[in-house]
């Protein structure tokens, strides 16, 4: 009786797992098929031959530019976000000043606001300073909007750093900047890596800001780029599948290698409510 119960539980959990991954497996399968096979055959069938040429076709079609834009914009925004967030968190948790609670509160309020409510004024601000259709508008926007969550993840770790280390450093005549960059930052490496992963997922997948602020193909990132790209392959499902797989691959790889960090970061991002 108990065994049957367990089998039912596993079936239930397995069913959910299948529901969660099957659409993605199906996507991968049809990215390796041609239209005839996709439309005539069973969607669950393995490709009769692996048509990697779908991937070659979309890569040569120009998806590389979007890919590169996604990489550098994601990377630069991560560096700025994690650096600025670490500095603020250090000042808030380790230094003594009256307004620290208020400033922390401001950042925490930033966790709750709907970004779409800010997008029209942001657009006109960037228009006025000539940053529309300039990738740096995207970089600074990502940095600003990811600061709250990054600070929140860093916060707990900074609170637990032992004060003796700072004391010892300062007694030895170390300047505060040297202490921050040479001692504190390296000590926070584990939690920094969590914030890097979370920022990477957010930046890589972001759509609205790029869609609104960028109009030239040369500056578009993958999320927006694949939109037009897919438009031109209207009925070529294999090419569309290959495009989508290429666009999600870096994140999936990061997940395979750093799944614990991802889980940690995503759980931390939930406590914000």
């Amino acid at each position: 009786m108990k065994r049957i119960g367990y089998i039912l539980l596993y079936l239930c959990l397995g069913g959910v797992a299948l529901f969660q991954v099957f659409p993605i497996i199906w996507l991968f399968l049809f990215s390796l098929k041609d239209n005839r096979e996709i439309f005539a055959g069973s969607p669950f069938a393995l490709p009769s031959e692996l048509r990697w040429e779908n991937y070659v076709k979309v890569w040569e079609g120009g998806i590389g530019t979007y890919f590169w834009n996604s990489i550098w914009i994601t990377a630069v925004a991560i560096i700025l976000t994690v650096l600025f967030a670490s500095m603020v968190t250090f000042a808030i948790t380790r230094m003594k000043w009256k307004l620290s609670k208020l400033v922390l509160g401001l950042f925490m309020v930033g966790l709750m606001i709907p970004i779409h409510s800010a997008i029209i004024p942001l657009f006109s601000m960037f228009l006025n300073v000539d940053l529309i259709d300039n990738p740096w508008s995207i970089v600074i926007t990502y940095t600003a909007y990811n600061l709250p969550i990054t600070i929140m993840i860093l916060l707990g770790f900074y609170y637990t750093l032992p004060r003796e280390i700072e004391e010892a450093a300062i007694m030895d005549g170390c300047s505060i900047h040297r202490m921050f960059f040479k001692i504190i930052l390296p000590m926070t490496a584990p939690v920094m890596s969590t914030t890097v992963i979370i920022n990477m997922i957010y930046n890589w997948n972001e759509f609205v800001f790029v869609n609104t602020f960028i109009s030239s193909d040369a500056y578009k990132t993958l999320t927006v780029g694949i939109q037009n790209f897919i438009g031109q392959y209207m009925t070529d499902w294999g090419a569309i599948g290959a495009t989508l797989i290429i666009s999600v691959l870096p994140i999936l790889l990061a997940f395979i290698f750093f799944s614990n960090k991802v889980v940690e970061g995503i759980s931390a991002s939930a406590v914000k409510g």
């Binding site: 959910v16 230094m95 759980s267």
Partner: protein, 320 residues
């Protein structure tokens, strides 16, 4: 709570080390750690960014809402006209209703996620692996998810209708083209996207319950269902409340996936508040009215957050 305890402990221990070291060191430490210039230098970059790119735009949204403005030309102050128009705008109320429906569905689905997490946390082998599998859709961009599910819902070649036809359904619906179904069809990928996220949170909370409490209940003769309902659930109620706020607020401001999948169509049948606002501003070039809707979105989100917090607030937090 835990981290503040640790913090107290740290201050205590560091206090002891102060007494060992001389007072000169203490003064020096205090002086360095409250240097106004250093604090300004460390706080300013982040504070400027969030003030200029997050808070000022939010305030401006309300202000632009008072204007008649096409985004590039001159602004004309028209008072509350845009807000009055919005209140009488059936399209706005339809989109708000769709957003609220999504919020309701998301909240109800939390029950399912909670049930799955309860099973997952009850000494299931491979639970850690399963919860990671569940999380995968959450890692994909909304654009990729939207494009993928456009294909799943494709009336002739999509996976869904293929399965339905194999099962003997003769005329499966054209999911995204049917005004009476489209809204519910796009809820599926949205729930699919976030299921793993909520399961992950509940699972972590359940794993935090001390084994001794559950063991004690088991010895007292409580059945697994009783343990789940009477002990585990009340203990993670704090997290459940957080997820309700997340699900509702996330639904009210939901945009990306719907914008890519249907653009709010056909004929406004899947329009939500954020997509309506976006369309007004960037397609119709009505920045004034779009801003008014954007501001209403902000106000509604904040009010709903406060209301849910009030409703779910309990006088005493359960301790263990």
């Amino acid at each position: 709570m835990k981290s503040s305890d640790k913090r107290k402990g740290l201050i205590l221990t560091s206090g002891r080390s102060f007494s060992i070291s001389n007072d000169m060191g203490l003064n020096e430490m205090n002086k360095v750690m409250s240097n106004k210039w250093v604090i300004t230098l460390y706080v300013l970059p982040a504070l400027l960014l969030i003030a200029v790119l997050v808070f000022i735009p939010l305030i401006l949204t309300g202000y632009y809402g008072l204007m008649d403005w096409d985004g590039v030309g001159e602004m004309n102050f028209i008072g509350l006209e845009n807000y009055i128009t919005a209140i009488q705008d059936m399209k706005f109320w339809d989109s708000a209703w769709h957003s609220f429906l999504l919020a309701i569905f998301s909240t109800i689905s939390l029950v399912i996620y909670l049930a799955i997490s309860l099973i997952l946390a009850s000494k299931i082998k491979g639970a850690d692996f399963l919860r990671k599998i569940y999380l995968i859709p959450m890692l994909l961009s909304s654009v990729a998810i939207a494009q993928l599910w456009i294909k799943v819902f494709n009336p002739t070649n999509g996976m869904l209708n293929h399965i339905l036809m194999v099962l003997g359904v003769e005329n499966p619906p054209a999911w995204l083209a049917d005004t009476s179904i489209v809204l519910f069809a796009i809820f599926v990928p949205i729930l699919w996207q976030y299921a793993g996220f909520y399961i992950l949170i509940y699972y972590a909370a359940l794993k935090n319950i001390p084994e001794s409490i559950i063991e004690a209940a088991r010895i007292d003769g409580a059945s697994p269902l009783q343990i789940a309902y009477r002990i585990k659930l009340p203990l993670i109620m704090g997290i459940v409340k957080v997820t309700i706020v997340l699900a509702v607020v996330g639904s009210l401001k939901y945009f990306d996936l719907i914008y890519v999948m249907t653009g709010g169509g056909p004929n406004g049948a899947s329009e939500v508040m954020a997509s309506y606002m976006y369309k007004l501003a960037f397609s119709s070039k009505d920045f004034g009215y779009g801003s008014a809707i954007g501001f209403l979105l902000l106000v509604i989100t904040l009010i709903v957050t406060i209301v849910i917090r009030k409703i779910t607030a309990s006088k005493e937090e359960i301790q263990y």
